[in-house]
């Protein structure tokens, strides 16, 4: 497969912020074996460079429609005059949490983030106005025109790192790289609305630069596509969907190359009734996905009542610890002021309470997913269970209908 990577923004090796922010000052309670373990641990840490390269905060403006961008070759592209491709974003893979972390605790938070972050990306892509429908879906859909998947590598209040892969319906890889961003204090503020756009076009998401970066890179790849390639993507998406519904009838039109990419060897005739039927079924699937998308959006809005504050406190504590480390006073209290100690604990308490709320919110999202009612062939179909189950059930239902109609 071809990998189109317009810019490389890979996470620097060894930039795990936890290496920097870990505080080790509880020896007064530690048993001997623990002290030994700590010494071994610290010894292993000392083999790494003292000063580790950190991702640098940067400002990335979002390229929006009506703006013409050009790359290094001087070519330019105006999305307003070209067909807009639909994009599907699968909920993010929550990645693997470190062994040493409290998995049960952070799994819930990470689970929530895997549903929350794709919506931020969706909103960014929509805001760019370069794309058609942009939907968040429960799982990867290879039949979509442009498919986005991502794995959360790191998600803290200070750093967000995503491994993003963007593939079009032809199987051509647009992007496959790690995007990292560090937040700055101006990204946080009590009472802030962290939606992508708050009506004043002012970004409030602490990692908005990262999303802008992804959106811009996607747009850059898109801008290089000719009309023929775009048509090809559209046809391929429909054909792939048709093959998913009925492999026997349509797989002959598709050839898989040795490198894994696929090519069309032809298309069904324009008056092919079954192919027309496939297109109609697909429209109903899009309607269904839109209903699911609303649920993700609803979750996103609810998350905003808790998640920004959780990140806010997390950010404060991380920065605070880092500052202490930098001045070498980590283990020495700067003052004996009891008010300072109260404030330290209060911040920690607020952080943990927000973490609880976030965990509860995430649990609620799973348990409160509404059954989806959708119209299909004049009948109302009600599906329940997780969104992923609903999605699979719906596709199976469509396939059954199609098979029945086809008579095989």
């Amino acid at each position: 497969m071809n990998a189109l990577t317009p810019s490389q923004k890979r996470k620097p090796a060894g930039s795990d912020p936890r290496n920097n922010y870990v505080a080790m000052n509880s020896t007064w309670l530690a048993p001997p074996w623990l002290i030994f373990t700590g010494i071994v641990f610290l010894s292993s840490c000392s083999s790494t460079p003292q000063v580790e390269e950190q991702p640098v905060a940067k400002t990335v403006e979002l390229n929006q429609a009506l703006m013409t961008i050009s790359d290094n070759t001087g070519e330019s592209f105006n999305s307003t005059t070209s067909r807009r491709l639909n994009v599907s974003i699968a909920i993010f893979n929550k990645g693997i949490l470190e062994q040493t972390s409290k998995r049960h605790i952070y799994n819930r938070v990470r689970q929530a983030e895997s549903n929350y972050l794709p919506v931020v990306l969706r909103n960014t892509l929509l805001e760019s106005q370069h794309w058609g429908a942009v939907r968040v879906i429960p799982e990867i859909d290879p039949t979509t025109e442009v498919s986005v998947t991502a794995e959360i590598l790191e998600s803290t209040a200070v750093e967000l790192s995503l491994k993003v892969r963007v593939v079009d319906a032809r199987g051509i890889v647009w992007l496959d790289q790690v995007y990292s961003d560090v937040s700055t204090d101006h990204g946080y503020g009590y009472g802030s609305d962290y939606s992508v756009s708050d009506g004043t076009n002012e970004s409030r998401e602490p990692f908005q630069d990262l999303y802008n970066d992804i959106a811009n890179d996607m747009y850059l790849v898109r801008s290089k596509l000719g009309e023929t390639e775009v048509s090809n993507i559209l046809d391929m998406a429909t054909l792939r969907y048709a093959i998913a519904l009925s492999p026997q009838a349509f797989s002959e039109y598709l050839e898989v190359n040795e490198d894994g990419s696929v090519e069309m060897s032809g298309l069904p005739a324009r008056n092919d009734t079954m192919y027309s039927r496939v297109k109609k079924i697909r429209e109903s699937e899009y309607r269904f996905i839109d209903i699911m998308d609303e649920q993700y959006d609803s979750f996103f809005k609810n998350m905003q009542t808790v998640y920004p504050y959780w990140r806010q406190y997390s950010y404060e504590l991380m920065v605070y610890n880092r500052e202490l480390e930098q001045v070498g006073t980590k283990r020495k209290p700067r003052t004996g002021n009891w008010t300072v100690l109260k404030n330290v604990y209060h911040t920690y308490q607020e952080f943990k309470m927000n973490e609880d709320a976030l965990r509860e919110l995430s649990s609620s999202f799973e348990s409160e997913i509404k059954p989806t009612e959708a119209e299909l062939e004049g009948q109302v179909v009600k599906l329940s269970g997780s969104l992923q189950n609903q999605y699979n059930d719906w596709r199976e239902l469509l396939q059954e209908i199609y098979t029945l109609e086809r008579g095989n």
């Binding site: 007064w28 048993p31 605790i105 020495k332 209290p333």
Partner: protein
């Protein structure tokens, strides 16, 4: 990891339980008994409400500690006086004594702030425990791979010790360390939560013991639920 999952129900005197927990406050060294490999897991699960009769009143304890400390200062002061009786305690000693007194009060007020929950709900499985504290954040511990975590919050440790006591320790910036130790009485009728506060710029520590007794959840005056749409909603339970 070998674990014995049991709930202690033997009828044994509560006095021993209180003696055990009372000793906690002055026994930082006992934390050295935290041995993950030989830990004994005790089942704390259930709903617990504060037993006011057995719970320490932080203000009473502070007042008592204050009197003790003041008395010690007076004794030291007297001992340091010169034979003529006109001398005074050296300024640095005097200052240190006053600082100690202030420290006790400071730590005590911190402990009071940290331990206010009157209801605990403990959810426990073989590899995980969550102690939900009403009006405060939950204490959680992952026994499998999360007993020690160094995150942005500082250093956290949790786990059972060899006596089946569940310990949560967090070391925060400014040298502040908070330890919560949960001890179940032998007959399972009482749960003691000992909250110990320590600051690295102060030699002493302060422990507050709060004792809880089990109650049947769902029999309270209110019933609450958490939903995405309405967040936490509570209503009066209809009379039975």
């Amino acid at each position: 990891m070998k674990r014995v999952f049991l709930r202690l129900r033997a009828s044994s005197c509560f006095f021993a339980f209180m003696l055990t927990t009372a000793g906690i406050s002055s026994a930082a060294g006992k934390d050295q008994q935290i041995e993950a490999l030989t830990s004994r897991v005790v089942d704390f699960s259930g709903s617990w409400e504060l037993d006011y009769k057995l719970t320490e009143d932080p203000r009473d304890k502070l007042r008592w500690l204050y009197e003790v400390a003041r008395s010690q200062i007076q004794q030291q002061n007297a001992a340091m006086r010169d034979p003529s009786g006109r001398g005074r305690m050296p300024n640095d000693l005097n200052r240190r004594a006053i600082n100690n007194l202030e420290g006790i009060i400071g730590l005590g007020s911190l402990a009071e702030m940290m331990a206010r929950s009157v209801v605990l709900t403990v959810k426990q499985s073989e590899d995980y425990i969550m102690v939900e504290r009403q009006g405060d954040f939950s204490l959680t511990c992952d026994f499998i791979d999360g007993q020690r975590s160094g995150t942005n919050l500082g250093e956290e440790y949790c786990g059972f010790d060899s006596q089946g006591q569940l310990i949560f320790i967090v070391s925060l910036p400014e040298g502040l360390t908070v330890r919560n130790r949960l001890v179940l009485s032998q007959d399972g009728s009482r749960l003691n939560v000992a909250t110990t506060v320590r600051s690295s710029n102060f030699s002493q520590e302060f422990t507050l013991n709060r004792v809880y007794m089990p109650f049947e959840a769902g029999k309270g005056l209110y019933e609450c639920t958490y939903t995405l749409a309405k967040k936490k909603t509570c209503w009066l339970r209809p009379a039975e």
